[in-house]
Assembly symmetry: C2
Homo-oligomer: 70 residues x 2
């Protein structure tokens, strides 16, 4: 997944769960500013930050071999 896809995935998932940025930031323990920047494509979060956010959304970061279906 490219950067934009990761963003869209997080944002989409948050919206699907009907959680506001504010709530998600609080639950994840990251600054609201940080989340806003990430979702608006202006950020380059640390792995830890992304992990905390993903976790609250019931998601996890994984690494997979590319082109497994090509």
């Amino acid at each position: 997944m490219h950067f934009n896809e990761l963003i869209k995935t997080i944002k989409g998932r948050r919206e699907a769960l009907q959680v506001t940025q504010e709530t998600l930031a609080e639950l994840a323990g990251v600054g609201l500013r940080t989340l806003k920047q990430f979702e608006s494509g202006k950020g380059n979060p640390t792995l830890l930050t992304l992990q905390k956010i993903s976790d609250v959304l019931g998601m996890e970061i994984c690494l997979k071999i590319k082109n497994y279906n090509a």
Copy 2:
């Protein structure tokens, strides 16, 4: 994947490809120090850094729903 799993995945993949940290760092365009710190569990890389490393190893970062098999 937890932090340690991500590290193990990267490191394991690099070793499977028989690439040294030095070569990987160069190919990925990240500092050798940065890669060393990450692989030794002392780092918290940015998403971009992890992405560059993964990319060279033929891997990609993805987000998936947790507990899909529980």
